[in-house]
């Protein structure tokens, strides 16, 4: 009798505990189903729409996010540089290349929680396309780091991992089917301050 009670309790404990823990773990994980990768950049075109997978839907409900619609903008996030190294706030990076066609784009560095990293300077901690300097071939080179540099500079500060968030507003890349075909800039690591 006692054995049956014990076994029933064990079944319930594994079912409820294991089920709840596995959902929690799956929702903590950042990378998910439905991601489109372009070099180091990834985007979730279906995120926050009725077409999204159940995990994205649950994550949206749990975090209270109101995601950007596709006609508003398309957000790319890079957590690694083009060579596969994790982006760190105490390193210098160069983001170099052409950006896809869009009304405009914005770029900022974010903490793992998606909060904007304040550079600790008076400059805004983000860049947008109409204020950057371009080369003759329309390519843009942006220096990311703690210390001011000439040309385009995105200030970051602190230590720990970070990600770059690039949002293309009103971009034809979002409405066409080939999001994977767009060309995004390379992220190269320059040096690290130790």
């Amino acid at each position: 009798m006692l054995k049956t009670v014990f076994l029933s309790l064990l079944v319930l404990a594994i079912a409820i505990g294991g089920g709840a823990a596995s959902v929690w773990y799956a929702l903590q994980a950042r990378e998910g189903i439905g991601a489109v990768a372009v070099g180091p950049w990834t985007t979730f075109p279906d995120l926050g729409t009725p077409q999204a997978d159940p995990y994205s839907k649950a994550r949206i409900a749990r975090e209270g996010v109101l995601s950007l619609g596709l006609t508003e903008g398309l957000t790319f996030i890079a957590q690694k540089d083009s060579d596969g190294g994790v982006l760190r706030r105490d390193c210098n990076y160069t983001i170099d290349g052409t950006f896809p066609p869009a009304r405009f784009w914005t770029l900022y560095a974010a903490e793992p929680s998606r909060a904007v990293i304040q550079g600790g300077h008076l400059r805004p901690p983000a860049l947008h396309s109409s204020e950057v300097l371009r080369r003759a071939d329309n390519a843009v080179s942006i220096a990311v780091g703690r210390d001011p540099t000439q040309g385009n500079w995105l200030p970051v500060a602190g230590a720990g991992p970070m990600s770059f968030v690039l949002t293309l507003y009103d971009s034809p890349a979002a409405s066409s089917s080939g999001i994977a075909d767009v060309a995004l800039p390379r992220i190269a690591k320059a040096a690290c301050n130790d």
Partner: protein
């Protein structure tokens, strides 16, 4: 004994799978941290609420892009169509309609309207059919958004190119009205 224990663990794991799926599918309907609940805690329906852009103001919902300011308004199409307008013009605005669960149903931007002005009506397919029969004069220039939902949230985002634009964008977002049409 060992066989019964192994059997119990196996049943437990199958149960865990069922619980996993059940929690996952029920979470959107029962979440108390979703966008709707957060907005409901701070503003009445049809009240235009600022989604705090950055530091300083308490943030209802984060508008992550530092170059953007945004407002939100909860509506209920069961009570009638929702009509949104704003005065003035800004470099860029975009709008999204979300359902009760925070899913993006429809989005558009300032290129959608003829002269870039913000004036749109959200209605269910049935209300739309009714309205087409006899279009009120006040909606002649409006953009119509058909959304087959009851309660919902509409968010308007506006681009702030630099600090000098902040008063203009703030004034624009303050001028947004959200009401039962």
């Amino acid at each position: 004994m060992i066989r019964r224990l192994a059997y119990a663990i196996l049943v437990g794991l199958v149960g865990a799978g069922i619980v996993h799926i059940a929690i996952l599918l029920m979470l959107p309907s029962f979440s108390e941290r979703d966008a709707w609940s957060k907005l409901a805690a701070s503003a009445e329906p049809y009240a235009v609420t600022r989604l705090a852009p950055a530091e300083g103001q308490p943030s209802v919902l984060r508008s992550p892009d530092p170059f953007f300011n945004a407002i939100a308004c909860r509506f209920d199409l069961g009570e009638g169509i929702a009509h949104l307008t704003a005065e003035g013009s800004v470099p860029f605005w975009s709008a999204s309609v979300y359902d009760r669960n925070g899913q993006n149903i429809y989005s558009f931007n300032d290129r959608t309207s003829a002269n870039g002005s913000l004036d749109f009506v959200i209605a269910t397919p049935l209300q739309m059919t009714e309205m087409r029969k006899n279009l009120p004069a006040e909606f002649e220039a409006s953009v119509f958004v058909e959304a087959d939902i009851g309660e919902g949230i509409v968010v308007i985002r506006s681009f702030v190119p630099d600090a000098s634009w902040k008063p203009v964008i703030s004034g624009y977002l303050d001028s947004v009205t959200c009401r039962i049409g």
